[in-house]
Each structure stands twice: as C-alpha cells, then as structure tokens.
C-alpha cells in the first residue's frame, strides 16, 4: 500500500508538473482539491486519466470519482480494490 501511495505521488507530481514538490511533501490524508494541494477540475481530468491508463479504472459515476480522488489515501484504497491492470 505504501509503495502504491509513493507511486501515485510521483505520477501526480510528474503529470501535473509540480516541480517544487517532493513526494514527502504530499500528506496521504490531505485533500487533493481545494485547501490541500489546490488542484482544479482540469487536474482532476489528469487524475482520471492516471486511474484509467495506469490502473484500468474507468469511472462511470461522478460522485464515485469525486470520493475516490479526494486524497492519496482514497486513491490508493480505490486502486487496490478495483484495479484491472
């Protein structure tokens, strides 16, 4: 699980071009949107694409995607349960 969280943080930093951040700067439980990392809806699309292309997870429901992408913790838990890749 910890390896998966680290992998996720590295992918987020890379895809969103967050060059000033290290994986250790991102709190596992902190919200990714709003007051946490401050990501916006286009960044959400990048996270949706990570889930789709890297882990074979395709969201059909907005509420479900919102809950799954809330933090590194929720992303990792969702991937562990539903990954197809």
């Amino acid at each position: 699980m910890e390896d998966l969280k680290l992998e996720l943080k590295r992918q987020i930093i890379d895809v969103l071009n967050l060059e000033d951040l290290q994986p250790s700067d991102i709190d596992d439980a902190a919200p990714l949107f709003g007051e946490g990392l401050g990501l916006d809806s286009i960044d959400a699309l990048e996270l949706i694409m990570i889930m789709d292309k890297q882990y074979g997870i395709k969201f059909q429901n907005k509420e479900e995607s919102k809950a799954a992408l809330a933090s590194i913790d929720t992303m990792a838990a969702y991937i562990q349960e539903y990954r197809t890749k």
Binding site: V15, D40, L45, E46, I48, M49, F59, Q60, S65, K66
Partner: protein
C-alpha cells in the same frame, strides 16, 4: 477582457422566439430581415457593453476609421441578427445549403479510431455547424445551459435529431469525467475554446495584435488526451447558404515540450485559424463584450 464567467442568453421573449420558429416553418428567414434591420438599431442603442466591444474590434483591432467603424458595427450586428434567424430556421427544419472546404481532412480525422476534439469558436454560425455536420460517430457537445428556455428546449430537440449528446457544464467541473469518457470511447467532443465559463482559469495570448484571455481547460484537455484536434468554422455566405471550413490543429502526437507548452502551442494554432477566418469574414465576429484586456 474580463475573467468573469459568461452568462449569455439569446435575446427576445419566449413568445417571440416560438413565433419565429412557427414563421420559419412556412417562410424563408429573409422575410423577417426588415424587422432585423430595425431591431438591430435598437439593440445597438441600448446594448452598451456589446457596442463598446464591437467598436473596439473594428476601430482598434482592425484599424478602421471612425465612420467606417460605425457602419461596420451596424453591419456586424446585422450579420449576427441574420445568423440568429438562421438558427431559428434550423430549429424549424429549414434546409441550409453548405459547401465544405477541407472535406478530406474531416473524413480522415473523423473516421479514425481515436476520439476527436472540436475546438469551437464564436465566429460564424457555430451552432449550425453542429446541426449540419453528419458525424460518422457519436458527438458530445460541452454546453452552457444558461440560455432561454425556448432556445434550450429547441437545442435539446435538435441535438436529439442529430444524435448529438449534451454534456452540461457544471460549476464544480465534474463534467471533465464525461468529457474523458466520451473521448476514451473514441467519440467526438466539441468544446467552446474562446469564452470563460464559471470563472475558469485563463491563459493570455495575442489575437489581432492584442492580448486576450482564453480558457485554459480545452487546450490542456486536448493535449492530455493526445487526440486529434480540429476547428470548424461555419461562415455565412448569404441567405440559407454557408461554407464550412475545416482546420486541423493537431494530429494528437505531441513531442519534446511540457504539456503546458504543448497547450500553449495549440492555443496559438487555434488563434491563427480564428484570425484567418476574421480576415475573410470580418463581420462574423460575435463576441459582444470587451474581449481584449
């Protein structure tokens, strides 16, 4: 230009809009042109913000003299009035003759297996482009549903007839999931790329020699999804007659730059295509507000 969200609505009461559709079921749009000539005069007199924006376009951006700008300001509004009438004529089911320039590009891009993004614009009659374009695969349109009830009802009905699917724009940005799903299933996605909605993040780039704000989203999404990108311009030639120009902005293969730089390159190509159309059809610029900073 302001960064505030757009809240555009088609003018006229519900009864007026329904009457137009009834009239166009039996008569061509030109029968109401005398009313449009007069309506445009009142509109120019009382729509201050729009008037200032169009004056800026003609006088400062295109460099026309004062009198020439006044005449063209009127003709610009008049052209818009005719385009609106054509839109209601389309709602009424009237036939519009369309010549296509770039059919081979359209066929190549639309018949591929990957998704396609259409970056649309407020130049020419964009809505008519959607109605007259017979896509070989499902087409999704990211749509602002803040217009009048009559326009939205007819838009929905026309979309259903043409097998177009609406993705409603949401203030929380949750529509990005539907956009991604449409593209990853190999469908066509049409997005307005020259207007800011719900305070969307802006990027600045020059058009006609001065910087203006564009929404960052459509360009970043196009680059992130790595799909072909086209712009379609439906330009009015005369009563019931249009030319559809197809311009390919990307084949979806991006190399050597960061995603933000790629999005910037795409924006510049989009603006170049817009400028090309404005040189050919300067009176079909339909941004009735201060577009520039």
């Amino acid at each position: 230009m302001s960064d505030k969200a757009w809240s555009g609505r088609t003018g006229g009461t519900r009864r007026m809009q329904r009457s137009l559709i009834r009239i166009f079921r039996h008569f061509p749009p030109w029968v109401v042109y005398p009313i449009v000539w007069i309506w445009v005069c009142f509109y120019i007199l009382f729509a201050h913000a729009g008037r200032r924006g169009i004056w800026h376009y003609w006088h400062h951006r295109l460099g026309y003299g004062c009198w020439s700008s006044v005449v063209n300001l009127y003709l610009n509004y008049l052209e818009f009035g005719k385009v609106i009438m054509d839109r209601f004529a389309a709602y009424a089911g009237r036939h519009i003759t369309i010549r296509v320039e770039g059919q081979e590009v359209l066929d190549r891009v639309m018949n591929g297996n990957s998704g396609v993004i259409v970056l649309s614009t407020h130049i020419g009659n964009q809505e008519l482009a959607g109605y007259s374009f017979h896509a070989p695969k499902p087409m999704y349109v990211l749509s602002y549903l803040g217009d009048t009830e009559t326009v939205n009802d007819n838009r929905r009905r026309k979309f259903e007839e043409m097998h177009l699917h609406i993705i409603p724009m949401k203030p929380d940005g949750s529509h990005v999931l539907d956009m991604h799903n449409a593209l990853s299933d190999g469908n066509i996605l049409s997005v307005h790329a020259d207007r800011l909605f719900y305070g969307s993040k802006a990027v600045y780039a020059p058009i006609l020699g001065q910087e203006a704000a564009y929404p960052e989203g459509p360009f970043r999404i196009a680059v992130a999804e790595a799909v072909p990108v086209v712009s379609l311009f439906m330009m009015r030639e005369g009563a019931d007659t249009y030319t559809l120009y197809v311009r390919q902005l990307s084949d979806g293969n991006w190399e050597g730059e960061t995603q933000r730089e790629q999005a910037r390159t795409l924006l510049q190509r989009y603006i170049a295509a817009n400028e090309e159309m404005l040189r050919k059809y300067p009176r079909q610029w339909f941004h009735f507000y201060e577009f520039w900073k």
